[in-house]
């Protein structure tokens, strides 16, 4: 079966790389699912979570990550997800994100609230 080679990179590190059968990401014009053989694509990502269905060497499973802005680019079955900040769901500190959410709500900081919300949702999606 054809596979995608996925690279999820943040500005200062490589977050995840491996084989996948499907990647779902949220672009500015809506959710997009990329499977092997997709047309070459370059899109702008929203702050949101990314779901990667892993396969091959990486084993069957799902990797969920929270990204805050970035890009998705796909060609030749190579998919790269670029984000200034990207966190895998199991790296996210739930308590800290919850605290951040509380704080953002009380400060009425919409951007911070959204970030915390995305983190929490990514964690929820992983379980």
């Amino acid at each position: 079966m054809a596979e995608l080679h996925v690279e999820l990179v943040a500005a200062d590190r490589k977050v995840w790389s491996g084989k996948a059968s499907l990647v779902i990401a949220r672009t500015t014009s809506g959710d997009i699912g990329v499977m092997p053989g997709h047309q070459p694509l370059l899109g702008v990502l929203e702050t949101g979570s990314i779901t990667i269905r892993t396969t091959g060497e990486s084993g069957e499973g799902t990797v969920v990550a929270a990204v805050h802005g970035g890009f998705i680019s796909f060609s030749d079955d190579k998919l790269s997800l670029l984000a200034e900040i990207a966190e895998l769901s199991d790296e996210i500190d739930v308590q800290r994100a919850e605290r951040a959410l509380e704080r953002a709500k009380s400060d009425a900081d919409a951007a911070a609230e959204r970030r915390a919300d995305v983190r929490l949702r990514a964690v929820a999606g992983a379980h």
């Binding site: 500005a11 370059l42 702008v44 670029l82 200034e84």
Partner: protein, 309 residues
């Protein structure tokens, strides 16, 4: 102990103390280079993928975008100079500043007005001392810059290039930093960040040419090529600045290590020659004492021999 010997001993002691300090600084810098190098390497995937994407859009779309097209008659250019906060790094800062001056003169020669943006206390001090206007400056993070710092530096530059030239905007964006080749070689370089050039400095053009050879796929842009470019290019500028900051930090540590190593070597040399001088002085003291004793003894002998007669 003779006065001379005491002077030498004192100097040896002070040089030894200095040597200890420079040795410690050398070790600290050496350990920091490794860390800085690792950070440069860690930032590489993002930069490479981003360059790839930018190249793809710039080549793969035929949209005219203000960030990729050259202005017919550029009148103003921004120069971002990356220096360090601290000295004691040999020629590191002065080389970067010299490179920036060369670039400034070249740009002025081409009839452009140059706006200065400076990172690092040393660069700020250079312009401050000469009373030359600096648009904006940043200090305090040059030893270990974070991506947030790069964003902070990039923001006003992106702002400036977005603005119309008539309203104080700039047409070109240059960056001067110190490229890290290896532990032993670092060189100050200047690069034009915007408008994009795909045939500029050595490393960059090589990379892009390589990419140029493989046929770039026809991308489907989401939502549109223009929007993607709009979102992509600021990130590209940030990532380039981030890379420049990291490389400069690594270069600074390498330069410090080298400067401190030669300082330590010089101190050792100095201690060696001072020890020789001190030994000679001590020997001279002893010789003098002996000859005084011998002289005194023979004078006594002479005197007593005279009284016998």
């Amino acid at each position: 102990m003779g006065a001379q010997t005491r002077v030498y001993k004192r100097r040896i002691k002070s040089v030894t103390a200095t040597k200890k300090i420079t040795k410690a600084m050398e070790m600290i810098a050496a350990s920091r280079i490794v860390k800085a190098q690792r950070r440069v390497a860690a930032s590489e995937p993002y930069a490479t993928e981003l360059t790839r994407a930018v190249t793809a859009v710039a080549y793969g779309s035929n949209t005219e975008h203000w960030l990729t097209t050259e202005v017919e008659r550029p009148t103003r250019a921004a120069v971002l100079l990356v220096t360090s906060d601290r000295g004691l790094a040999g020629g590191y800062n002065s080389n970067a500043i010299k490179q920036a001056e060369l670039l400034t003169n070249r740009l002025i020669g081409e009839g452009k007005e140059v706006l200065h943006y400076v990172v690092g206390r040393k660069g700020v001090a250079y312009y401050g001392f000469r009373d030359r206007p600096v648009q904006e400056s940043w200090t305090g993070f040059t030893d270990s810059p974070s991506y947030g710092d790069a964003k902070e530096v990039a923001a006003p530059l992106i702002e400036a290039i977005k603005a119309e030239t008539a309203q104080g905007g700039v047409d070109e964006l240059h960056i001067v930093y110190t490229e890290f080749h290896s532990m032993m070689t670092q060189s100050a370089v200047d690069q034009r960040m915007l408008p994009l050039t795909f045939t500029k400095s050595a490393e960059d053009s090589a990379e892009v040419l390589q990419r140029g050879k493989e046929i770039l796929p026809l991308y489907d842009f989401e939502p549109s090529a223009d929007d993607v470019l709009d979102a992509l290019l600021p990130r590209y500028v940030e990532s380039r600045i981030y890379n420049a900051l990291l490389q400069s930090a690594a270069s600074k540590h390498a330069a410090t290590r080298r400067a401190m190593k030669s300082a330590t070597d010089n101190a050792e040399e100095l201690i060696k020659s001072l020890t020789r001088l001190a030994n000679a002085a001590r020997q001279a003291d002893i010789t003098q004492e002996i000859s005084e004793i011998v002289g005194g003894a023979s004078a006594l002998a002479d005197a007593s021999a005279g009284s016998d007669r």
